[in-house]
């Protein structure tokens, strides 16, 4: 039986690659956490990896702005915007098409793209975790252009992804990786701030399997307390929905004002 065998989430800020040695007393723990995450993913022997991320007005702009969009391409080019990684990511077009059909059957009217260049929200984690050789299905999620999909809708979409994968013939081994957050402010006067207390509360709730409490949060409160970048926790919540388990396992967290963000690294679907 096909199944989702690995799920997890982490941040995607370009500074992870552009300035990796900043504050080594804290970034060192994060690099070790990413190494553990990369080893877990490699050990899961994935046939396909669904990467749940957003876009920063590189691929999707006001001419066409989907809420959810699945990539169906043979391969994907990285934009390489602002010094972030370029390069080519291998696609999983048949798998992507099956996921699209399955989601539509389950009431999720997801858009599709046969040419979907990827910005740093996809490319940084793929490069950092050494995943460029894994067949990828990118799932774009609107995290920065209101109105945003509700947190609960994102969770339900993740549950549907897991269900769709289980219906694939054969014994496909699928991973789901969410990218974004945690607290940070993009293009706003508070750029550079980190709300460590908020980050740790979010990660603790996820880790303890108390997702329902997070699903009650309003975007206004998230924006006020943790910045517009924290609205990207949608990718984590969708991934949690796909995990099939009630909890997450924190691999690492550090406030990184040197990178203008709080960084989290979490595997999901397992109790600590």
């Amino acid at each position: 039986m096909s199944s989702v065998v690995w799920t997890g989430a982490t941040s995607h800020v370009g500074a992870i690659l552009k300035n990796p040695d900043a504050a080594p007393e804290r970034s060192g723990e994060l690099h070790a956490a990413w190494d553990r995450m990369a080893a877990e993913i490699r050990g899961a022997r994935l046939d396909a990896l669904v990467v749940v991320a957003t876009d920063h007005y590189e691929t999707f702009r006001l001419e066409h702005y989907p809420t959810f969009c699945l990539g169906l391409a043979d391969e994907y080019e990285g934009w390489g915007e602002f010094g972030n990684p370029a390069g080519v990511v291998r696609g999983a077009p048949a798998f992507s098409a099956g996921v699209l059909a399955g989601l539509m059957e389950r009431g999720f009217d997801v858009s599709r793209s046969h040419e979907m260049p990827l910005d740093h929200s996809f490319m940084v984690p793929l490069v950092k975790l050494n995943l460029l050789d894994v067949p990828v299905t990118p799932l774009f999620l609107n995290c920065n252009t209101p109105p945003l999909p509700s947190l609960r809708r994102c969770h339900d979409l993740g549950v549907a992804v897991r269900d769709v994968v289980a219906g694939f013939p054969g014994e496909l081994r699928v991973g789901v990786l969410g990218t974004g957050g945690v607290s940070h402010w993009v293009g706003l006067p508070r750029f550079g701030d980190v709300n460590e207390e908020w980050d740790r509360r979010f990660l603790a709730l996820l880790g303890d399997g108390r997702l329902e409490e997070i699903l009650e949060w309003s975007d206004d409160d998230i924006l006020d307390q943790a910045g517009n970048g924290a609205l990207e926790i949608r990718t984590w919540i969708l991934t949690q929905g796909a995990s099939g388990g009630p909890a997450g396992r924190l691999l690492g967290y550090q406030p990184m004002p040197e990178w203008s963000i709080g960084i989290g690294v979490m595997a999901m679907g397992e109790r600590a």
Partner: protein, 81 residues
């Protein structure tokens, strides 16, 4: 319409070959290609992040636009820059 045009401008400056150099040489001529209000045209020329944000431009677009024009992300709202 203005937010659409500001978004188009930000993307074009980043991705359209030669446009950033053209802007540096003659910003007015480049801005003529985009249907901006007089207020937003001046805000772009002045690197005026406060006005663009107050008028509702998406902060991600605002960041992309002004960073392309040479303003560091950390200095977008520094009035003495």
């Amino acid at each position: 319409m203005n937010h659409l045009m500001l978004t188009k401008l930000a993307w074009a400056l980043e991705h359209e070959d030669g446009l950033l150099d053209a802007y540096r040489h003659d910003p007015g001529a480049v801005l003529d290609r985009f249907k901006l209000s007089a207020r937003h045209r001046q805000a772009v020329l002045d690197h005026d992040a406060e006005t663009l944000l107050a008028d509702g431009l998406n902060p991600v677009v605002l960041r992309n636009l002004l960073v392309m024009l040479g303003v560091p992300h950390a200095e977008l709202y520094q009035r003495d820059r």
